[in-house]
């Protein structure tokens, strides 16, 4: 699939800020499932800082904006050719040992219900891949997709108790139950081309990857009950949502900020 992506984030500050430093993880991953063309990152009024590929294989770019400035726009534009690899992250170069992804963080901290879910869902699994599929299916069952039910800081345990959530909650819950079952798991941020019209929240998306012996990292999207295919564009990963955030920034002299995000993923027919 040939996907055209445009992603614009506008920060508006009540009082002009003195200075802004950002760390961006907004460049598509390099692996057999995707090929990137003419990718451009622009930060209005910004100076491009260091760029490097980290141990997880993500391209990180630092930007600084010298103030005073009341509005900053981060604009991403580019094309990605994608292929369906049934979720398998084939040909992705990374240096971090999978076992490093067995560590729990606050959003994925297991409670009794998550432990229960992991155990029940995993019972009878034939092999690690089967186990991963069962866990993902169980999370899809346990947490209904409902925007607005949760917020950015909701934990996996809270979302499970609520029985509702969005892709972030599904991913955190799957990561948690996978780690309980001994499978290294991580949070992935990216884009999703939605075939349904007018659902902007679908375009910026998140899912989980579980490490399966013999296959390597395999993506699972419990929010959509599937594995990532050619509609998905992968940006980067982390232990949880904050760790995998595509944009991190600290503003000096920070005042109240308003954020507007517009993401469009379109299929190019040519």
């Amino acid at each position: 699939m040939k996907l055209q992506i445009s992603h614009e984030t506008v920060y508006r500050y009540e009082q002009p800020i003195r200075n802004l430093v950002q760390s961006l993880r907004l460049t598509p991953s390099v692996f057999e499932g995707q090929k990137t063309h003419d990718w451009q990152i622009q930060v209005s009024g910004g100076v491009r800082g260091p760029g490097f590929r980290d141990g997880a294989g993500d391209w990180i770019e630092g930007w600084t904006v010298r103030g005073p400035v009341a509005e900053v726009t981060v604009r991403i534009e580019g094309r990605v050719d994608t292929r369906d690899l049934a979720g398998v992250l084939r040909g992705h170069r990374e240096a971090i040992h999978p076992m490093s992804y067995l560590r729990d963080t606050a959003p994925t901290e297991p409670d009794a219900a998550l432990q229960d879910l992991s155990r029940t869902a995993g019972t009878g699994a034939r092999d690690p891949l089967d186990l991963a599929h069962r866990l993902s299916a169980a999370v899809s069952e346990a947490i209904a997709f409902r925007p607005g039910a949760t917020e950015a800081r909701t934990t996996a345990a809270e979302a499970l108790a609520l029985g509702e959530g969005v892709c972030q909650d599904h991913s955190h819950a799957l990561i948690s139950v996978a780690r309980i079952a001994g499978l290294p798991a991580r949070y992935v941020s990216g884009y999703l081309h939605s075939t349904r019209d007018g659902e902007a929240h679908d375009a910026a998306h998140a899912w989980a990857e579980l490490h399966v012996e013999g296959l390597g990292w395999v993506g699972f999207d419990p929010a959509n009950r599937c594995c990532p295919d050619e509609r998905y564009v992968r940006l980067g990963s982390g232990l949880d949502a904050p760790d995998a955030a595509p944009i991190r920034g600290v503003a000096m002299g920070s005042s109240a900020e308003r954020l507007d995000v517009a993401v469009h993923v379109q299929e190019l027919t040519q």
Binding site: V21, G49, F52, A56, R103
Partner: protein, 468 residues
């Protein structure tokens, strides 16, 4: 019986004989006057902080014992080789576990202990700091149990403190007793700040083209070791900065100065990893420099010690340091490790639970003598309470035998008497590995006490290494 460093067999060793004569000819009132003078000097220069993050009153003065501890050249040589060997192995280990992890692939260290360690920093995997050095200042805590028997209690690879005591103890001794140093063959330690600065400059990033600008990054004057931070900055002739004095712009880190921003090449940080950069670690931290880690990972600035260096000095990893020496250097370790039982192993756990009254049990991530059980000094109720803690979370503990620490002559009310001591030398790792002859000797001032922590009646001494 513990080893008394004052004696060689029955005979008093030559350097100590001189010191004993010095004490015996010293009138009582003179001694008291000098003790008061030493205290006043320490107060005046403001060196009152607690060593090793022991907590407690930051303005408390640590007692200074005027009786020096003495090492002969030959004794020191062996120690020096052992310390440098250990420092090389620890840095080789860090380079390995943030790279290919050969020691784990070879089955010499369990993967879990490294990759699931809280101090293992995955954000720096694959990045090799200048010269492959991760820990630039290593404080190795040693105890002695016999003439030729030294044991390493722990390694401190992050930001070991106490070196200002090493320097000040010497300074004060020289100021108060110049006659003791006249005609003596005592090796100097005052080159330490210069060596530290050279070490830091030698690990400047490749992007640095001129003479590197180094700074010391402190959490601020509320920190118990703030005195040491400003003391070292002063002696090295570098700026002492807090997070707010530094900022990232483009590809580099700059320091605000009265004459405008100045690029910084090497940061000797005395703050923990978690507070270095809110963009990478704790988003709520006000201490760090936003964007610092991106500049670091792209080779724009050096951070000493490297973020993630703490995985080498964890108590669970400690048991494998002799293995590191063999694996990376192909040598036999010169310094001993204390025999350590790791409580996640069933056999070890059974042994420890049966022998708690004889053992010292420590938390894997604890420090400063907190969260630990000293079996022989504990009541049976304390032992039972600790037993329950171990059973609840065995992975969190290690156990060691109670060592018979050596003693050194120490001033007491009746003259001089043996008191137990330990030693922390400070090894510098850059383009070369340097060790100033000496270190910080801590002494348990209470008779019979094995606890040298200043919070529990410990003091400090000047440490002499005699030249040939």
């Amino acid at each position: 019986m513990s080893y008394n460093e004052m004696f060689e067999g029955e005979a008093v060793r030559e350097p100590y004989a001189r010191l004993r004569d010095w004490v015996q000819t010293m009138p009582d009132d003179f001694r008291q006057m000098k003790q008061a003078e030493a205290e006043a000097l320490f107060r005046r220069i403001g060196i009152t902080f607690a060593v090793y993050g022991e907590g407690g009153d930051p303005d408390r003065l640590i007692p200074f014992d005027m009786m020096p501890r003495v090492f002969e050249q030959a004794e020191w040589r062996r120690l020096e080789r052992g310390i440098k060997q250990r420092a090389r192995a620890l840095n080789a280990f860090l380079r390995d576990v943030y790279g290919r992890g050969e020691i784990i692939r070879a089955g010499r260290i369990p993967a879990r202990l490294v990759y699931q360690n809280d101090a293992y920093e995955k954000s720096v995997v694959g990045f090799v700091p200048p010269r492959g050095v991760y820990s630039h200042i290593i404080g190795i805590d040693l105890v002695r149990t016999a003439k030729d028997e030294f044991y390493v209690l722990e390694d401190n690879c992050r930001t070991p403190s106490g070196v200002s005591y090493m320097l000040e103890n010497r300074e004060i001794m020289m100021r108060m007793f110049p006659q003791l140093f006249r005609g003596s063959r005592i090796e100097p330690v005052d080159q330490y700040p210069e060596l530290l600065r050279r070490t830091l400059e030698s690990v400047a990033p490749a992007k640095c083209r001129e003479r590197p600008t180094c700074v010391i990054l402190t959490p601020g004057h509320y920190n118990s070791a703030y005195y040491e931070h400003s003391f070292l900055a002063n002696l090295m002739g570098v700026e002492l900065v807090e997070g707010q004095d530094l900022f990232v712009d483009g590809e580099f880190v700059y320091m605000r100065t009265t004459t405008g921003p100045r690029r910084v090449d090497v940061i000797y940080r005395r703050i923990d990893d978690l507070f270095l950069d809110p963009l990478c670690f704790r988003p709520d931290s006000m201490l760090g420099i936003p964007g610092l880690m991106d500049v670091y990972r792209s080779g724009g600035v050096s951070i000493c010690s490297a973020p993630g260096a703490g995985v080498a000095d964890d108590k669970a990893i400690y048991t494998f340091v002799p293995e590191m020496v063999r694996f990376y250097l192909g040598e036999e370790p010169i310094l001993n490790n204390v025999q350590t039982w790791t409580l996640w192993k069933e056999d070890d756990r059974r042994y420890v639970l049966e022998h708690l009254p004889e053992l010292v049990v420590k938390e894997v991530h604890g420090s400063g003598g907190y969260g630990m059980l000293v079996g022989p000094k504990s009541t049976s109720a304390e032992i039972e309470a600790f037993r329950a803690k171990i059973i609840a979370d065995p992975c969190n503990y290690i156990a060691q035998p109670t060592l018979a620490l050596s003693t050194c002559p120490t001033f007491v009310d009746e003259g001089i008497a043996p008191r137990h001591v330990d030693l922390r030398p400070f090894c510098l790792c850059g383009d070369r590995i340097e060790l100033v002859p000496g270190g910080l000797t801590r002494v348990a001032l209470r008779e019979g006490s094995l606890v040298v922590n200043s919070s529990q009646g410990g003091g400090v001494k000047d440490t002499w290494v005699l030249s040939e």
